[in-house]
């Protein structure tokens, strides 16, 4: 009955449109997830994925993504944010075979990307905070992101990513941030992605 009512409202007033930001630390899997969402609903990827931290250094946007789940539609602008960090050292990139000058440029771009992602915190309508479930989730970066989103009453969904990897510990994330809805996924192989879409509709649809 509710779904039928939603469809009726959408037919007359058009589907709701939201800006959905993907936040998290570098290498949490934000771009892999953004690509999965974009592939599922637009048919093309959004950004390049790399094992080198700070691959995404500018906000990547995919506009007019029309998410359809169980007969309902949600129009969104998908925003893949650069990973937020409190430090950037060009020397960390050298071990990936990047030469010194390119590493320095990458570091400079990464700092600008972090500032851009932080500025966007007040402009998104909803956020997926992506965490690498093999890592300790109780970091200052995650605390700062969540604190700022909550202070602005922006709906948040925690995404425990990389559950396909050994050492994944979703319980640790749930214990660190029990007040938020949490979905465990593997953005890489799409495991449990439908549950995430369903939760997005519940929280922001």
């Amino acid at each position: 009955m509710l779904d039928w009512l939603h469809s009726l409202v959408e037919r007359f007033f058009g589907a709701k449109s939201v800006s959905l930001g993907l936040y998290g630390a570098p290498n949490a899997g934000k771009t892999t997830l953004a690509n999965k969402i974009s592939m599922d609903f637009v048919g093309e990827p959004l950004g390049k994925v790399s094992e080198v931290p700070h691959e995404t250094r500018v906000v990547q946007k995919k506009e007019k993504v029309s998410m359809k789940v169980n007969g309902r539609k949600l129009n969104m602008n998908l925003l893949d944010m650069p990973g937020i960090a409190t430090k950037v050292d060009y020397r960390d990139f050298l071990k990936y075979g990047i030469d010194k000058e390119k590493a320095r440029v990458r570091a400079k771009e990464a700092t600008k990307g972090i500032i851009e992602a932080i500025k966007w915190l007040e402009n998104v309508d909803a956020a997926l905070v992506v965490m690498d479930s093999t890592e300790d989730p109780y970091t200052q970066v995650n605390i700062t992101i969540l604190g700022n989103l909550e202070a602005r009453n922006i709906p948040v969904i925690l995404v425990a990513n990389k559950i396909d990897l050994p050492g994944s510990n979703v319980k640790r994330i749930k214990e660190a941030f029990p007040q938020y809805p949490l979905v465990r996924i593997s953005a890489k192989n799409g495991h449990n992605i439908d549950e995430l879409y369903k939760t997005i509709f519940e929280r922001v649809g």
Partner: protein
């Protein structure tokens, strides 16, 4: 091995400063190479401003900060501002320092464990 200076700052010491001035003060001390233990938790807005300002200063020598805090996440920014305006302090603790000398920082919500030093690899 060079010494590491730690500055313990009471909440009262910064209470009269606006948020931007508080951030300026913290960054000035950290960029000189000292650690700060602040007797309160920063607001989400201050944490955000601190990271943003830090990024403006990152270069080959100053690679950023490590920060960790204890205390409840107070998302009612007005409540925080009123408490500070009235001369009170919010609960909590914040430890901040240059990323170059903090080798490890762990927070289990009731205590912060920090390892600092010069040179060598992280454990």
């Amino acid at each position: 091995m060079p010494d590491i200076r730690i500055e313990f700052v009471s909440a009262m010491a910064l209470k009269d400063l606006e948020s931007s001035k508080r951030i300026d003060y913290l960054l000035k001390v950290i960029r000189k190479g000292s650690l700060i233990v602040l007797e309160e938790k920063l607001t989400p807005d201050e944490e955000r401003a601190l990271i943003e300002e830090t990024m403006n200063f990152v270069n080959d020598k100053f690679t950023g900060i490590e920060i960790s805090s204890l205390g409840p996440v107070e998302t009612n920014q007005w409540k925080e501002k009123v408490i500070k305006f009235l001369g009170g302090k919010t609960s909590g603790l914040t430890v901040i320092g240059p990323a170059k000398i903090i080798k490890e920082i762990k927070n289990d919500r009731s205590k912060i464990n920090l390892l600092a030093g010069f040179g060598g690899d992280k454990p």
